[in-house]
Amino acid sequence: MKGLQKIGLGLFILSLAIFISLLFIGNYKVTPSNFEQFSSSKGIKSELFIKKMNEKVVGVEYSNSFSFSSEIISAMESSNEIYKKNKEWDKVIWDKPHSFSYQLAKKSGIGLVNENKSLFWWLTFGLGIIGSLFFIIPNVILLGPKGIKNNGIFLNSATNRGWIGWLVFIFLVSFYLLLYFRPDYIVNWTYIVDPISKNLSGNLASQWFLYGFLYCTVMTVMAVRMYIKYRHNKYQILRTTSVLFFQIVFAFLIPEILVRFEKPWYDFKNAFPLDYDFFFSWNLDQLIASGGFGLFVLIWGIVLTLVIVPIMVYFFGKRWYCSWVCGCGGLAETLGDPYRQLSDKSMNAWRLERWLVHGVLVFAIVMTGFTLYAYFSSNESVLAIKTQTIQDIYGFLIGSIFAGVIGTGFYPIFGNRVWCRFGCPLAAYMGIVQRFKSRFRITTNGGQCISCGNCSTYCEQGIDVRAYAQKGENIVRASCVGCGICSAVCPRGVLKLENGPENGRINPTDILLGNNVDLMSLIKDK
């Protein structure tokens, strides 16, 4: 069994090495016809750029994506500079440089990877999946009889911020930086999922398709791990199945199929304000332009946020979304599960959390307010601030850096729910509902708590669960995503996630059940 795991680990590392090496292989060459097609489809009016490209780039073979894109970007930027100086605004290319160069690179790759897409899919994804499963499945036996098996988590450098943790951190952060800010460097990665994308939407894969596919793959493989680790716990099994279903069907398949039918890409479960660009003018225009379907999406999006989300939180707590439906939550609960114990439980972290997460919510609402005002009044700016600028700042700081680079990249350092806890505006909104108007609570079982601290240690949201449990108090916290792990790891059967009457949900107790009845009532009367 151990041998199988070693083979699995070897295969996985090999696949990862091949995946990374793809960044450095393959050549790029813009053919004249490709360039012609590209510039006409983009409607490029920059003669200087076209000239420079034809002189220096077209027909030349580059041996890597880095030199290729730096050439394109320098051609673009130097031409732009001149046009800007001459105030010939229509000739300026306004695209983001690396997205622009990505589009050209996507058409220009030649050589090994582009010609052997399926082979490289198998060498990366295929090998990675097989290796991971070889590593994970023997745990059915190696973990021993079913039950909570957290042995050695804090003795392992992968799960206790050791060197493996830091390596994973570096890999994940680099991945997100490339994905968000240097898509032109990862064109090779998109090639290997082209065949799948073709089959689904009919288009070649973008970096976002790659991300979506990778996301689903990682979640599926790591869900297998969850199924094995928590095979005694039906709540965990159902919850894992649910997030997996919503990710694959709602976040991945349906949107791609919509595109195939020439409808706007839309994830029906992604509620505003997590879906922060839902009310951006480009999206509204696109929806309105796509007729009845667009209108339906528009109404659905509004109803989802204003009606469905709060009602569901009232009945079930925010867990119905965060740990049963949401994609971010889904990744956190599968890929992130090995890191849940790394969340910060200190009072200071809680303080920071409240400022940050509600700050992001306010930011999202103000931005949307400005955007809508601008949209309906046809102004570009509100209070002399360009709405575009606010949107760009939000997209960069919150959408990319916070949700992606920090949210997932920092799993091995700060735990798996950094984004959900500190950044997600939807979580903040649902948290307010959950705290003040909901039937959900974690019930503390009378006086059984022995303050061992397993619950707090394994709370991914950094809630000091023990602080409540040892006082006999139910846990009613805005940030609780209802993952149910505190209840699972409790050795004394103290915690239970429940939906019950609001009355008695919050039960301040100084004296715990089991002591002198008169004393309990004496304290309660005070």
Binding site: S346, M347, G447, I450, G453, A488, K496, P501, G504, L519
Partner: protein
Amino acid sequence: MEHIVIIGNGISGVTTARHIRKLSNKKITIISAEHDYFFSRTALMYVYMGHMKFEHTQPYEKWFWKKNNINLKKGFVENVNHSEKQLIFSNGEIMAYDKLIIATGSKPNKFGWPGQNLDGVMGMYHKQDLENLEKHAPNNKICKRAVIVGGGLIGIELAEMLHSRHIPVTFLVRESSFWNGVLPKNESAMINREIISNGIDLRLGVNLKEIKDNGSGKVKSIVITETDEEITCDVVGLTAGVSPNINFLKDSGIELGRGVKVNRYLETNIKDIYAIGDCAEQHEAIEQRRPIEAVWYTGRMMGETLAQTICENKTKYQPGHWFNSAKFLDIEYQTYGWVWAQPKENEARFYWEYKDGKKCIHINYDKNTQEFLGINSFGIRMRHEFFDSVLTKKQSVHHVLEHLADANFDPEFYKLHENEILEKFNKENNSNIQLRKKSWSQIFKMKA
């Protein structure tokens, strides 16, 4: 300002301090020689197993003590001079008190076995034991086998700990079946099976004769009394129960039995000196409880109670209905009320076991009045409030079975066994009890 000094920073001492602080602004000092900060002793096992780090066992952050103006002092009290109201520390230091609370807990029992003080022989109680274990049994290369002596809760925890690092364990239990002084036969047998199925070498009905020296002061092997079998090992865990940690009070004039003798107000024979927690011994046992109860929550309850007395609201220690819980490897155990190992004359029993042999409930009730007396539950979580209320209202076993759905505390979507349980009861007793649906209003009425 009155100075309250508490010796011992375990759950009893710390609970007292917290509650005194809630009720007053008296000066509070907590003394400990073991560690600067309160930690949960029950969680030490999880540190060794790698489930937690030591800091996770500390329920309060460092700022908590300062914010609540509770002074922490590290030191070992060697003597109490009650006529001068002074504590004398081992380093000669002296501290004055107005009221003294002794909350020094327990220490592991050693029964004078030859070799019991060798290197590699340890209890599993103090933080220092954990460090010692880490030194002698970091892995199965350095510790090729460990022998545990004493089949109680700490013994099985230590077995689980060593097992988590794949260290072969031989588990010597004096009784003929695990913990059968407390558990009825069926439950005890279930735990025997659980221990064996985890690959632990369980030896029932055996005693330790001696621990042998390897010639350099370290343990080499142990010998079993009954068979004279010698078992080679690198670590010996002595887990044959605990007793009050009160040696330092021998000549203090405070009345001692096995523990510090206290009355129902937790007062000792000396004015302004109190004792709580594991080290306190009631003059007379309270109801069916033992005079010394080394249980986490009784320590806490004594703390809650004594704080009232200290703060001018003299309150009798009145523990409610007995309850407890533990975990035996993968099997969780909860108990409410009394289910004795042997039924008493007036008692009838109902036992149900799930087909996988890892879940059971055992109900004890009065033969004549049908009053519910207690339940053992293995592998199924039960609601404390439900049983506390049932016991207070002296409700019948029928009531309990009827409302078993309200009592269940397992996580959502877990397989429920209530119907199966009722069916068995009805069959055995020729009754026709019907299970009622789970009712929130019932559950919440219990609270009132």
